[in-house]
Structures are given as structure tokens and as C-alpha cells.
């Protein structure tokens, strides 16, 4: 009996055997094997850890901690704002601050225009607009004449040869990006040795 019992026990060795040492009991032959195996008790399966007991905290302390956190963030924001990327000032827009300060000093004394003067000025303005509109009319007429002359020439060329016409209406790529220097006030002096000025680099650098 003893030997098979041993093997059974070996089989149950992973179980927690409670109350008494089995070995002692074995000798006394008090082991029940029928009905409830009273001697054996299996521990319950643990699916979770028991809740830890929460530490009680002082609400004033919590509040103080939050405030500290907030203050630290605010300080960081302030520092970021201070060292934020500054835009490069545009001199042309900002203007010279010195002139802005002196603007009252720089006013020119203005004399009121006499009636005749303002009348003659108004007349001159009107005369000028009439002159310009007349000039515009003649110029646009001349341009229209140029275009008709060209159209007639192209038509005449087409009557002779379609091939030559197609070549004539091709776009001249060399004229794209056309530039020319207009008339100047006085003619250029040949072999003129223009004097060099001083070179001062006034470009400001920003890091």
C-alpha cells in the first residue's frame, strides 16, 4: 500500500498540502482516499494583486505642487516669447527714425496759392490730359497701321507659298526676353573713363 501511495503523493507534489505533514500521517494510516480529499487544499488562483492602501495626502500640499508646476510652465513660456524669432526689420517700410523725430522741424513754409495761380495750374492739367490723349490716339492709330501692313504682307506671302508663310509666322525665340536701352539725355562720350566712386558696404547682417 505504501509504495503506490508514495507515487500518488509524488503526483500531487505541486499541491499545497495543508495542516499536517503527510509523511507522519502516512505512518498512522489515516489517509482518506474516498469521498472528499480533506487533506488536500489547492490555493486559489490569483488573477490580480490586492489593492494597495492609498496614502492619504494633504490637499494643501497638492495645491501647492500644482501651483509650482503651473508657475514653471509660465516661466518657460515667458522665456520662449522673449527669445522668439524676431522678424528682420524692413528699412524701406520702417523709415529713418531720425527723420520721424524731426518731422515737425522739416516742414516747409507753404504759401497759399493765389486764385490765378491755382486756375492756371488747373488749366495746364487739363491741357496736358488733352495733349496726352491726342498723342495716345495717334500712336495707337500708327500701331494699327503697322499691324495691317504686316497682315497684308503675310497674306501675300501665303498666296505664294504656304511653306514660306509657315516659316514666317514662327515665333522668333531669340526675341523673347527682349530688352533695349532707350534714348538718353545726352549722347554717350566715346572712350569715356568713368571715375570710380568709393565702395562702402552698408548691408546689415542679422544672425
Amino acid at each position: 500500500m505504501a509504495a503506490p501511495m508514495q507515487t500518488v503523493l509524488q503526483q500531487f507534489s505541486r499541491l499545497n498540502i495543508s495542516r499536517l505533514s503527510l509523511c507522519r500521517r502516512l505512518g498512522a494510516r489515516e489517509l482518506h482516499t474516498q469521498g472528499h480529499p480533506l487533506m488536500f487544499q489547492v490555493t486559489e488562483v490569483l488573477w490580480a494583486e490586492p489593492m494597495k492602501k492609498r496614502k492619504k495626502v494633504d490637499p494643501a500640499q497638492v495645491h501647492a505642487r500644482e501651483m509650482r508646476k503651473k508657475k514653471r510652465l509660465e516661466r518657460m513660456i515667458k522665456r520662449l516669447e522673449k527669445f522668439a524669432r524676431k522678424l528682420k526689420p524692413i528699412e524701406e517700410i520702417a523709415g529713418d527714425p531720425k527723420i520721424r523725430r524731426e518731422i515737425s522741424l522739416r516742414q516747409r513754409e507753404r504759401t497759399a496759392l493765389s486764385f490765378e495761380e491755382s486756375e492756371s495750374r488747373a488749366r495746364l492739367h487739363k491741357e496736358w490730359t488733352r495733349y496726352k490723349s491726342k498723342q495716345y490716339c495717334t500712336e495707337s492709330g500708327e500701331i494699327a497701321q503697322l499691324i495691317t501692313a504686316q497682315d497684308r504682307a503675310l497674306q501675300a506671302l501665303r498666296e505664294e507659298s504656304e511653306e514660306l508663310y509657315q516659316q514666317a509666322i514662327e515665333i522668333d525665340e531669340s526675341l523673347i526676353n527682349f530688352s533695349c536701352k532707350g534714348p538718353v539725355r545726352t549722347p554717350p562720350i566715346e572712350n569715356f573713363d568713368s571715375p570710380d566712386g568709393e565702395y562702402i558696404d552698408t548691408t546689415k547682417t542679422y544672425d
Binding site: R106, T148, E160
Partner: protein, 273 residues
């Protein structure tokens, strides 16, 4: 009819490409057979643009003056003007003090600066608008009448007699009209830089031949296409074989040289804009 048959047989043998070429030649031959075709010619309208601005007209100079005064009235005092005011005040004070016998301090005043600038400006003399060519009335120089637009005319043999025309020449097979205009210019005037304004002609004129000439030349007449070009630089080296003389003339002077029909055509595209 025979030609058409040949063409048909050629297409049948599927030599399509050859057939097409042949066809084109036939068409060309057919149209040239009668003297119904025009002789194409290219001419160059070589312009020298104004170098200097024109004198202001009466109204222009008046209005310029008005704009200048208005700009002056609306302006603020400049640094130099402020300095001058300060100097004036200081000199007034000084003249009061001098009677008491104060020591003088010489500094550069605004007035001194103005004098200096004026002296410097006087040292420079701009080139005269009235050039040597104007003085001698040298019409072969492109340096004459700098305020006006000039056009190059040459005396060329047209038909039987010499005539003042824009440099012209016959179009040759295989070149575009513009290319022949470029060739004509180079042939007549030598090595000058000229910028051609596009591939399209700016004007044209046609002259019919009389019946005798038409028969002799197998052409109805000349169709002359004008190409505009802008003169750059370089001296004109006339080819004596093709043209005997050349002149740079303004629009108003053109009528002294060109025939009325020719002039009317040139006036359609040559403007002193």
C-alpha cells in the same frame, strides 16, 4: 494626265514616299509653267533708333515745370537744407558777436559745399547733341540727327535704272524670307550688327512686269517683302556691285528720294514713334 498615271502606278507599288515627292514636284511644275508666278524678293528696313530724347515741346516743358514745383512744395526739408538753415542762424549770431571781437572758427558750411559741387559739375561737359555729321550734313553717317529715327536707303539697280530703295535682293530656293533678307543686308552693307525683328515681314509691295519683261523673265512681277531690323554698330561697307550709294534719312526726308508708290508702302510700316 500621263503624270497622274505614273503617280497612280507608283502608289500601287506602295512607294508612298516617292510618290508624294513626285506629286509635289508635279504641282510646282504645273504652276510655274505659265508665267503666273511672282518673283519673291526680300528687302531690309534697317532702322537706327534715336540715341537721345527729343527736345520737349512747349506743353511738355510747361507741365514738367509744374510737376517739379508741386513736388518741391510737397516735400520735406532735406538734411542739406536743415544744415543751411542752421548755418544761417549761426552766421547771424556770429556777426553780432564779432563786434565784440570773438575768435573765428572756420568750418565747412552748406554754402561752401554747394559751391564745391557746382565747381565739380562744371568740370564735366556732356557730349554735344549736335554731332560732327550734323555739322557737315553727312547723310552717310549713322551719327546724324541723334533725336530722330533714321532709315537706311541705298541706290540700287531696279529694272533698268538706279533707284533709291531699301536694300533688296531676290529670294533663293531653300531659304526663308527672313534668311534672304539677312543675306541681302550682309551682301549690300558688309559686316554690321543688326537685330532682325521677328520672322514675319512688316510690309510688302508688288510690281507687275510689262508683258515683254514678263515673258523674258517668266514671271508676272516682283513681290517685295520688307523685314525690319535694328542697327547695332559697325561701319557700312557698300558693295559697289549691287549698290552705288547709301544714305541715312529721317521719315520726313524719305519723300525726297523714294518714288511715290514705294514711299506710300514704306510709310505704312515706318513710323517715328
Amino acid at each position: 494626265m500621263a503624270a497622274r498615271n505614273v503617280v497612280r502606278s507608283l502608289t500601287k507599288t506602295s512607294h508612298l514616299w516617292a510618290a508624294r515627292n513626285f506629286c509635289q514636284k508635279c504641282i510646282r511644275f504645273c504652276s510655274t509653267s505659265a508665267n503666273q508666278r511672282w518673283q519673291l524678293m526680300s528687302a531690309v528696313c534697317l532702322e537706327r533708333y534715336p540715341v537721345i530724347i527729343k527736345d520737349l515741346s512747349d506743353i511738355e516743358s510747361k507741365y514738367q515745370g509744374l510737376l517739379n514745383t508741386m513736388e518741391f512744395e510737397n516735400s520735406l526739408l532735406s538734411d542739406h537744407e536743415l544744415q543751411r538753415r542752421k548755418d544761417d542762424l549761426a552766421s547771424e549770431k556770429k556777426s553780432g558777436e564779432e563786434e565784440e571781437g570773438g575768435t573765428e572758427q572756420r568750418t565747412l558750411t552748406a554754402l561752401d559745399l554747394e559751391d564745391m559741387w557746382e565747381a565739380e559739375a562744371h568740370k564735366f561737359t556732356p557730349a554735344s547733341c549736335f554731332t560732327e555729321a550734323d555739322e557737315k550734313n553727312d547723310m552717310t553717317s549713322s551719327r546724324r540727327k541723334l533725336q530722330e529715327k533714321l532709315i537706311l536707303i541705298v541706290k540700287q539697280k531696279v529694272g533698268e535704272k538706279d533707284q533709291w530703295v531699301l536694300p533688296q535682293g531676290e529670294w533663293q530656293e531653300g531659304e526663308t524670307m527672313r534668311e534672304s533678307a539677312e543675306r541681302v543686308l550682309k551682301h549690300n552693307c558688309g559686316d554690321i550688327t543688326a537685330k532682325f525683328m521677328g520672322n514675319a515681314p512688316c510690309g510688302f509691295i508688288k510690281f507687275g512686269f510689262n508683258s515683254k519683261l514678263a515673258e523674258q523673265k517668266q514671271r508676272r512681277g516682283n513681290k517685295l517683302f520688307f523685314y525690319k531690323a535694328t542697327y547695332g554698330k559697325g561701319n557700312i561697307d557698300m558693295n559697289k556691285n549691287s549698290a552705288s550709294e547709301y544714305l541715312w534719312v529721317t521719315k520726313s526726308e524719305l519723300s525726297n528720294y523714294l518714288s511715290p508708290v514705294y514711299l506710300k508702302c514704306v510709310n505704312d510700316f515706318f513710323f517715328n514713334l
